[in-house]
Subunit: 231 residues, 2 copies
DNA sequence: GTCTTTAATTGTCTACTTGACAAATATTAG
DNA sequence: CTAATATTTGTCAAGTAGACAATTAAAGAC
């Protein structure tokens, strides 16, 4: 079938990137959505994304969309390829294959850009999203949860310097379940390279001030942090 | 930028699927490769794959390549999307985005198809592979290992009816490390729904005959099977 | 047939990890 | 100064994991 090899012989696809940008604002896990300004599906919420340039790498395309929408540089966030969605009819206009990416960012304090807003993942109507974006979002949330379990990525939801309570709130937001502060702390500190103490403390409201930490160099957690069986 | 929306405005990509088909022939983990019959890279080993049709779903395309090359139906195997590779220069002819898939199959007894052969993963020269297929293969092996840890997919490397020794050899092949048969057995049988006893036994060579099992309906393992820290 | 070898299966024990909860410490708010 | 709150340290019972010995049941040599 591919004895000759003329580009024109093969069906042309458009390739896009779509981003599932997650953040934690305790006690919620939130996702960044944009309101579509154009038809089709004008006015509905959608994942930020766009076309990949003819000589642009997939990761570069995802990175530049992230900067466009959030102003967050990749250095301060986590960005990874998620999954590729290519159902023939997912976009009514033409055959589009979307390489979805997952970003985990610390909540930006700056005001939102036009048309973009954070939405709580739990209380989001799947039917309100454009195209197959509900499916993509679900894949992103599942990936995020599973990576939180066995990697140190929870730190990428935190400020550069953070307390263990903040780190704990990331897990609590992702699972919707409270964790014992004492056991959580011992587990985190027992894991070599998860966090590193700054020597400083910080206090917000009443209660003993908490020590602050920065992310360590480890990437994998052995053993995982969340209990088995927790969804 | 995307105020108008004419398909012709956007760069055309070719989309392919490439398959990392893994099997276990104790004590080795092996991958199916085909020898390229056409330029470029004529004569080098490559992952099986091909173009996605204009109205063909990605999963369907992967499935049909698997049947073409191995004759194995998806019902008896595991097939999942792996990762998408889209470096601008990965194929010299044109812009090609490849949606790589991972298949885990029981070793087929039938003779090989023309140009295709099983290769031991450990003793394979990465430089001998065409295009960026060495990178794809590495991603596939890593994915397979991590899924073996926390899912029941090891059973898809086994015949439909198998002994615990066979199942154990899957883990031993993937990690290159021997496991204690006694502890392995207790762990597997303690995991609800991993395997189900047939009541029959089977003996191959000397030694007490082993009971045979079929795969259970569970998909996830809690807790994981392999010890933390094992590569 | 009997003996030797091999592998599956069962049993046992020690060290470690987990999670629940109590106690001590260090702040803020009034 | 007192009450309230949150971090941090301490304790302990229950469960898990891995090492290794013992038992069972077959194949193959003689």
């Amino acid at each position: 079938m591919s004895s000759t090899y003329d580009p024109a012989d093969f069906p042309a696809f458009a390739v896009t990137v779509d981003l599932v940008v997650l953040t934690v604002r305790p006690p919620n896990l939130e996702v960044l959505l944009v309101r579509r300004a154009e038809a089709p599906q004008k006015g509905r919420w959608a994942l930020p994304g766009g076309f990949v340039g003819p000589s642009q790498d997939l990761a570069d395309a995802a990175e530049s969309k992230l900067v466009d929408k959030t102003g967050i540089r990749v250095k301060q966030a986590h960005l990874e390829q998620l999954q590729t969605f290519g159902q023939p009819k997912r976009d009514p206009r033409m055959r589009v294959v979307s390489v979805a990416h997952l970003a985990m960012v610390a909540v930006p304090s700056e005001p939102e850009l036009e048309g973009a807003a954070w939405h709580t993942v739990g209380s989001l109507d799947a039917a309100a999203l454009a195209f197959d974006h509900a499916e993509i979002l679900q894949a992103g949330v599942e990936r995020a949860r599973s990576k939180l379990e066995y990697t140190t990525l929870a730190t990428s939801f935190c400020r550069s310097e953070f307390t263990l309570a903040e780190l704990r709130s990331v897990y609590e937001a992702a699972w919707g379940e409270r964790l014992d502060a004492a056991n959580f702390q011992r587990k985190v500190l027992a894991t070599e390279g998860f966090v590193e103490s700054t020597g400083r403390t910080e206090s917000a409201g009443p209660g003993r001030p908490a020590r602050t930490f920065v992310a360590g160099r480890a990437e994998l957690l052995h053993p995982p942090l969340m209990p088995p069986g927790a969804l």
